[in-house]
């Protein structure tokens, strides 16, 4: 336990000094400023327009809030891959890991400690960005989307899936290959998710199946679709009026699949690192 805490502490230390973290935080800040500016004008327009119905105003604000959350989700995923990318692969390549792994510490503890630390960092990052978006929506539009209690944890879990895949791949592959692998899986899930949604709208069963298979291979995007489903009013879901409406709601089974996915990724990561010649 003591070793686990030390590895977590060391990894948080490592993450904090990363330029990538600073870069993504600056990116997030720039995004939030842009977002707040845009929201300011839209909210002014919506509130000043007497001819619009209350429902339409609400839908517009919800749409714009979801767009902000979608950007937060994307920025978080980027961070979830880029930040832990070389925590194992890079330290193996440089030899830094040798003084750690020769200590009386289990290799699995090193993997779990690093994983846990990056989960904290990435979820923290999501809280900053998504929190910023929600704060903007609340203060400028007086709008709070529904279903945050379900939606935000799902977004956080999606980030954890990406961290797990990246750490697991880093135990087996080089830094660059790890990045290609993790982003490749994310790309697959992204395309698959949309194929499934469009398939559902078009009533095309084959397209739906292709999407489902993609989500099984990498369940991250399904978690976002489920999160965004909860974070909009029911009328918006049913009207299918925005890219964030999820005509086909990924089932709870997909969430459990993702839980199992994280467990398997971690086991593979620990086994790979355990057998690796350092």
């Amino acid at each position: 336990m003591n070793a686990f805490v030390t590895i977590v502490h060391l990894t948080l230390h490592e993450a904090a000094r990363r330029r990538i973290l600073v870069a993504t935080l600056i990116g997030a800040l720039a995004f939030l400023i842009l977002y707040a500016t845009g929201f300011h004008f839209i909210a002014a327009d919506v509130q000043g327009n007497a001819t619009q119905s209350a429902l339409k105003k609400r839908l517009l604000l919800n749409f714009f809030t979801l767009a902000g959350l979608y950007a937060s989700h994307f920025l978080t995923l980027l961070t979830a891959v880029l930040l832990p990318l070389d925590t194992l692969a890079g330290e193996i390549a440089s030899g830094v890991v040798q003084t750690v792994a020769s200590k009386p510490v289990r290799r699995s503890t090193i993997v779990l400690g690093k994983w846990f630390a990056y989960c904290i960092v990435v979820v923290g990052y999501l809280m900053v960005v998504a929190g910023g978006v929600l704060l903007v929506a609340r203060t400028m539009g007086g709008f709070v989307p529904p279903g945050l209690v379900t939606g935000l944890p799902l977004m956080a879990f999606e980030a954890i899936v990406l961290v797990s895949v990246t750490i697991a791949a880093g135990a087996h592959l080089t830094t660059v290959t790890t990045g290609v692998f993790a982003f490749g899986l994310y790309g697959l899930a992204f395309i698959g998710g949309w194929v499934e949604q469009i398939g559902t709208i078009a009533g095309n069963k084959s397209a739906q199946n292709v999407g489902t298979v993609a989500s099984l291979i990498m369940p991250s995007e399904s978690l976002w679709h489920r999160a965004s489903y909860y974070m909009q009013p029911s009328i918006m879901r049913e009207l299918v009026v925005s890219p964030f409406s999820a005509p086909s709601l990924p089932s709870m089974a997909m969430v459990w699949w993702a839980v199992g996915y994280v467990v398997v990724a971690l086991v593979l990561g620990m086994r790979g690192f355990g057998k690796r010649a350092l």
Binding site: N2, T6, E14, Q98, T99, A277
Partner: protein, 302 residues
């Protein structure tokens, strides 16, 4: 307590097609300074990493401090300074020692005291609060050496600890090795710097193409010790009185004594008789000569 620090039988490691270590069967006694010699690519580092549990062997078995290699409880009593000194260089020297001390299971006041003592021993007081990435190579080596001694280890592994260092850095490593030996700690020194090995090791094993090909006891003096002297005011008779005179050329003389222990007495006698002694160099059959002979003509720079 088992009296062997290391015992291995037919350890082997293959990387794909390449057989890095073909057969490693060695014993290292407790308190012994053990030199592991060989050209680059002979399998020295792979052997050392197998002993530390960093590289799982393909075949064979071994014990470290009486426990199977890779065992965590044995690793708690081991210190390791890796080749190239690559560490978490964003940490300050002190933070680095604290983190690694905690990995050894140390904590609190005891850890802080130990870290401070080692910082002082390694002469890093001024640098301890700076990030390691700003350290010179010698300083990085010293903080790495401190890291390897945090747990008062029973055996310390040093992988090429002096390559690329200036003479002061080498001297420090040599002193630390002597201190460790005096304290009963075993040292496993991986090196191709023959002078270092000659100055510190009790026993040396030569490795070639993944196999142990020769073993040399550095403490045994089979037929006495030859010593080169540069001395003025000492005639042949005086020299012959205290040692076997082998040759003489002006101030330069080569004599033979029974054992290294006879050297201080020889020096004292010469000085007492009014001779001016400028230099006294024990002339073992040089390790380099042995090395070249053992490695043979077929070896090319690795």
């Amino acid at each position: 307590m088992p009296d062997l620090a290391i015992e291995t039988q037919h350890l082997r490691r293959r990387f794909g097609e390449k057989l890095a270590v073909a057969d490693l069967s060695i014993t290292v006694k407790r308190g012994e300074v053990f030199g592991f010699l060989g050209p680059n690519g002979a399998g020295k580092t792979t052997s050392l990493k197998m002993l530390l549990g960093l590289i799982p062997p393909t075949a064979g078995r071994g014990a470290l401090l009486g426990r199977p290699i890779g065992d965590r409880r044995a690793r708690a009593r081991v210190g390791f300074l890796p080749e190239h000194f690559r560490f978490q260089d964003w940490l300050t020297g002190r933070e680095f020692l604290h983190f690694h001390g905690r990995l050894y299971g140390l904590s609190g006041h005891a850890l802080e005291q130990k870290a401070d003592a080692l910082i002082t021993r390694m002469d890093l007081q001024d640098a301890a609060s700076r990030a390691i990435k700003g350290y010179s190579k010698g300083m990085t080596q010293r903080i790495g050496l401190a890291q390897a001694l945090l747990n008062d280890p029973e055996i310390v592994f040093l992988d090429e600890p002096t390559s690329g260092l200036d003479p002061l850095g080498r001297l420090l490593v040599r002193d630390v090795i002597h201190e460790l030996k005096a304290g009963g700690t075993s040292v496993f020194l991986n090196s191709h710097l023959l002078g270092e090995v000659e100055a510190t090791c009790d026993r040396v094993v030569f490795m070639k193409q993944g196999r142990v090909v020769h073993e040399l006891d550095m403490t045994a003096q089979v037929s006495g010790l030859e010593v080169d002297l540069r001395v003025e005011g000492a005639n042949d008779a005086l020299l012959s009185e205290h040692a076997e005179l082998l040759s003489r050329d002006g101030p330069l003389a080569r004599v033979r004594v029974a054992h290294e222990d006879a050297l201080p007495a020889l020096a004292a006698a010469l000085v007492r008789e009014g001779a001016k002694l400028y230099a006294m160099t024990p002339h073992r059959r040089s390790l380099e000569a042995t090395f070249l002979e053992v490695m043979g003509e077929d070896q090319r720079p690795g």
